[in-house]
Symmetry: C2
Subunit: 350 residues, 2 copies
Amino acid sequence: MATGPNGSRPEPLFLRACRGEETEATPIWLMRQAGRYLPEYRALRERVGFLDLCRRSDLAAQVTVDAARRLGVDAAIVFADLLLVLEPLGLEVEFGPIEGPIIRNPLREGADVERLREMDAPSTLRAVYETVRLSRAALPAGVPLIGFCGAPFTVGAYAIEGRGSRDFAQAKAFIYRDPGAWHALAAHLVRGLTDYLNAQIDAGAHAVQVFDSWVGCLGPADYRSFVLPHTRALIRGLRPGVPVIHFGTGNPALVAGMAEAGGEVVGLDHRSDLAGVRARLGARAVQGNLDPAVLLADRPAVIERATGVLEANGGRPGHVFNLGHGVLPETPVDNVLALVDHVRAWRPAR
Amino acid sequence: MATGPNGSRPEPLFLRACRGEETEATPIWLMRQAGRYLPEYRALRERVGFLDLCRRSDLAAQVTVDAARRLGVDAAIVFADLLLVLEPLGLEVEFGPIEGPIIRNPLREGADVERLREMDAPSTLRAVYETVRLSRAALPAGVPLIGFCGAPFTVGAYAIEGRGSRDFAQAKAFIYRDPGAWHALAAHLVRGLTDYLNAQIDAGAHAVQVFDSWVGCLGPADYRSFVLPHTRALIRGLRPGVPVIHFGTGNPALVAGMAEAGGEVVGLDHRSDLAGVRARLGARAVQGNLDPAVLLADRPAVIERATGVLEANGGRPGHVFNLGHGVLPETPVDNVLALVDHVRAWRPAR
């Protein structure tokens, strides 16, 4: 068993699984585990707006740590938003209550890329690093902290589209029309995002997750042309020794390309066949992939379906249990607690 | 070359490609080819509401035929809506201008399934068959007419969710909570949808497409448990001799299961790797799969990308060119015309 820096305390379960090591149990954390399904989070949000919460490091750290404690999960993820990086680029963002962030001056043509500012993440996004520091200090021993950012495609597509979208058609049309401008934009984002994640690592993040939340609107050939080189550059630019989870959603046909782009752990959504992916990716660690909608059903369904995911992994080392996407707002907390208990207690049949 | 019923005129290109035969060119039609991107359609819709248009067979047939003539495509598809079948089931539907149809009394628990009426499609959906008859009579010789319906999952998920959704979480929670009620619902829908498609065939449709537009929210194991048997029952219940296109969108990991469920032609969206699918499915005909967002770019991009799809197919027989999803409303008509010309003229390198 691996040991921590002091040579005695074992490394946390989550980090060992990220490194593909055999573990005595399957670690679990949940995307959006500190979100709207928690009554204490909703109560806080009645007093504090979303963006203010991201910027108030004391409150953001409290949300981060309280959720991890309450659920008893194996990792915490810093409370922040994928799209905090837009404003430092010179994009004017409004965080609406329902439709999500809206950009008043989205990128609409190639020339717009040239007017972007450098992100200068080390100074513009200090509140996030402070949240990392405060969270790390407050977390129980053995519960590592995950930092995160959006992948270059996801951030770039949003900067073009200007709002959430089912198909990101404007973003794709931009890419098809002016591939050179797209590559310039992606390279610009990679510079900023690399600094941003490294600053989170310097502040104390034990692992980082790169979210390619919108990439599933592309096919595999476009992924290879327009996304893979940039995500790879981002991941290669990160401090060594810190596990990287590379998560994408919406298209299982991209998993091979995502694995190639990098990351110790490939994060799968619920559309993927976990057993098939593990067979194809060999020893690579994976994260996932219970459908978040299962948590809207009842406890027996949660147990049965979670068992299905664990059995699909079949006891292979290097499995971090998670949902295929974030916890849904309508999720009963008791179902989440039942899931965490079940996964922690489960052992493969011998 | 195959010949028509009179033994002299060759069968239309589209039907021969659906049957997997070698053809002298690649046939093309486009999902939503008679839609909002056409100025004449928008002009008509200023006078006539969407639902009224579906029910006015003379106008619906005009829209069907005019679009096929204007574009010079190889097939027409009857103008109608996937969700016309909801009202005959006893669901109260409002077709909103932006958010799409909203069901005032969606199915929320197992017991709700029992209150559904039989669809009785032969009498409740007569306007559609009349549109089929009028369209077929008015179409140029050699341009076959496609009838269609939603697949049982897509119609059932909408009946539960009550509106469009990014993830159909309510529908999935229903399925996970009460699989028996879901199977009863799907079987109920299969009865009605089979009658509905057969009545379209009896009225003159030369081919039919089954749209599983929302199925991509599921993973492959759920597809096999909750969808495949019902779609298979629907397809097996159809009049023999009429090609069935089985289209799904949103998850390439479902393509193997969809192919197993049936249909002479498997319809792919743009997330799939066409070359890989053809290699895996053997001689099975396929339809697809240009990203509709390409048509928002410029003409050189359209030509380059369409060539990419044709080359991915690599001259294999049994390819019907189409988009991966419907034509987007913002699409310039000239780009669509350039696409159709290019595909019709393209020949594989020898």
